[in-house]
Symmetry: C2
Amino acid sequence: MSEATSFILDSRLAADTHLVGDLSLSRVLLMNDSRYPWLILVPRVAAVSEWHELSDSDQQQLLAEQVRTAKMLQSLTGAYKMNVAALGNMVRQLHVHVIARFEGDEAWPGPVWGVGAGRPYDSSRAQSFIAELRTGLGL
Amino acid sequence: MSEATSFILDSRLAADTHLVGDLSLSRVLLMNDSRYPWLILVPRVAAVSEWHELSDSDQQQLLAEQVRTAKMLQSLTGAYKMNVAALGNMVRQLHVHVIARFEGDEAWPGPVWGVGAGRPYDSSRAQSFIAELRTGLGL
């Protein structure tokens, strides 16, 4: 995989999330919205907006990391359904949402984007959840 | 890849779409909503709801088909951004949305799900678009 030295995390993604850690290709972020267990994978490559703009090997690696992250998060949270999506209408930098969904969560059964106002984690809850996520990801 | 003989397309997916054709793993469907060029890939395997429930080889194949389909649809339509997502909150059968988005389309910049009422294709437009899609996918 090609970790470009020119990777710069989009400022909006940085502002909306906590850092979990780095997998081989992707930076793993925790969306700062405690309504949903919600991770974001951002491949650490130079400016790319679409899956199909990644190299073949980076596509394979991003898939592996997406699958690993979704499986871990579902197992950790007992989620009813995982939502996995690369949209990028507002933030062009390629990023993959991995969201644990529960029947009856605030947006259920619709998608989470644009629904109501985010509910930030309190600091101790964020730190303990990030620790669990890092363990789950082997970080 | 494992094409299970027990594949049955979810009845809601069938009702909401036109058939485009079959790739090696996935059935390709055209959402019957002319507001957005919107394809859906459904792996032809027995009941699976999550990417991580697919076998490793089927995951690889679905990724290849997702990437191929998104690249083709963006090229065919000149879309500004592709949206690629596996949600499945309403239809549990694993399916991947591949949606061509344009600045100023009805849902822009939000996601398309649950926005307004669908606008079905007229029959001749559906047939001509499906023909283009089949050519683009080499079907």
